[in-house]
């Protein structure tokens, strides 16, 4: 009996560890989480921004290969994909009213925004200036791509990006290129959504 108990314990522990590895693999191509710093300019390659008082901010152009998604996703819910962030930090020297724009596609991209910071869903603008050295508290933004069937056969399903703009001056502060593709290698995502 003791042997059965020990085996049950070890097997469950190993399954749990494996589930983490599986999640890590899939997090590069499903509900990809990424960090945003402003101002950071045009993100053309992976960078890590280190600022005193802030966690290391890793940014990169996002390339998401829909073919690398999990088997359940591919079979049961293939026509939607999402990207997500919980982290927008002001690394500049002045307070900024942050406005977000996602380059549009020929199909709907739905925004789901929650934050403990005043936000206008019509203009996608955080209406209160974000002080330097601070991140938007309790932030959750999901962009959900509702991809029609006929686009799913394309090699490139989305080729655009996220623009982070100073809402007062209309100056482009950060641009993160985003691509959804079929076939290739996912890059740039995979941040842990648990913080």
């Amino acid at each position: 009996m003791k042997k059965t108990i020990l085996i049950s314990f070890v097997i469950t522990m190993l399954i749990t560890l494996f589930s983490s590895v599986y999640a890590k693999d899939l997090s590069k191509s499903e509900i990809v989480h990424f960090w945003i710093a402003v101002p950071a300019g045009n993100i053309t390659e992976p960078i890590t921004i280190i600022k005193a008082g802030l966690p290391p901010i890793k940014m990169a152009p996002l390339v998401i290969d829909l073919d690398q998604r999990g088997i359940f996703k591919k079979i049961l819910n293939p026509n939607t994909e999402a990207i997500s962030t919980h982290w927008i930090y002001n690394i500049g020297k002045k307070p900024i009213r942050i406005k977000l724009e996602l380059i549009e596609a020929n199909y709907p991209i739905r925004w789901e925004v929650k934050a403990a910071w005043p936000y206008d869903p019509e203009t996608h603008t955080f209406t209160k200036p974000l002080p330097p050295g601070m991140g938007i508290p309790k932030l959750s933004i999901d962009w959900i791509f509702e991809i029609p069937n006929y686009y799913m056969d394309e090699k490139v399903i989305y080729d655009g990006g996220l623009l982070v703009i100073d809402a007062d001056t209309n100056e482009l502060l950060t641009f993160i290129p985003i691509k959804l593709i079929r076939g290739g290698i996912s890059q740039g995502g995979g941040a842990s959504c648990c913080g």
Partner: protein, 292 residues
Amino acid sequence: MWLKSLMRNKYRYISWIIGFILFVGPFAIIMRIYYYLAGILREPDLHMACFRMPIDWIFSGRIYYIFSYPEMFLFIFAVLITSLILGPVFCGWLCPVGAFSEAISRIIPLPNKYRIQIKDPKITRAIRYGFLTGFIMISILILLGFSERFTAICCWYCASSVLQQIINGIINPIELEYWFSGSIIVLIFWLIIGGIFTVGGRGWCLFFCPLGALSGIFHKIGSKLGFYRTIRIEGKCSNCDKCISVCPMQAIDSNFSIERTLCINCKECISRCPNKLYKMIWRNKNASSKIN
């Protein structure tokens, strides 16, 4: 027969509804009150009283999140202290995730012979704490710099998020359009395998909830200190096995011993035993009983 079996321990249904209103959006009364008092603008939901992330943060060296999400740490602290004193009553009476799967299991009249039941609670306990150990090991591996290979599983496999998504979807069906692999796996394990096809409907609580597993440890310590616990007293037993079949946590073995780390003080055994052999006690550490 089936309807009659649903009518047991009616107070738990009421407490499930209360738990639902307290924690699940659009109500999320507990977090709403906290946000109001703290001047936080965000719309609260079940995810903001996360049952898992603070445990991961503690073991992965990210306890500094206590400054960003103090309410989550407070919530877990409250659940564990309550478990020590009153037993895991949050699990048994308020947790909307466990209540939802148990309710689904009760509503679907599938005979227990078609459901998963582990007869020996010691094996159930081993599986439960195998998961908890794995969960903590992942956090420690991330702390040690293995974050390129491992990720925290709190959010990727999150029954709270799935429950909140289902409720959001009832209000606004568009919210049900997006599922990722993790949420699909959770749906299968939480409601289908752990709910419909597990005796008691609490497979998720038994095997995949780190807060439930920690609460079990606190309850075991609490019971040794003489705090509230369910016991089985000596008496004439009709061997109907009702206590075993109604225990949502499969915590009672064939000798009618209660596995303390699984018991959630739900009182199902107390309400169903025809001979009134189960009761809750306080203090009396040496009560004549079969307890582990």
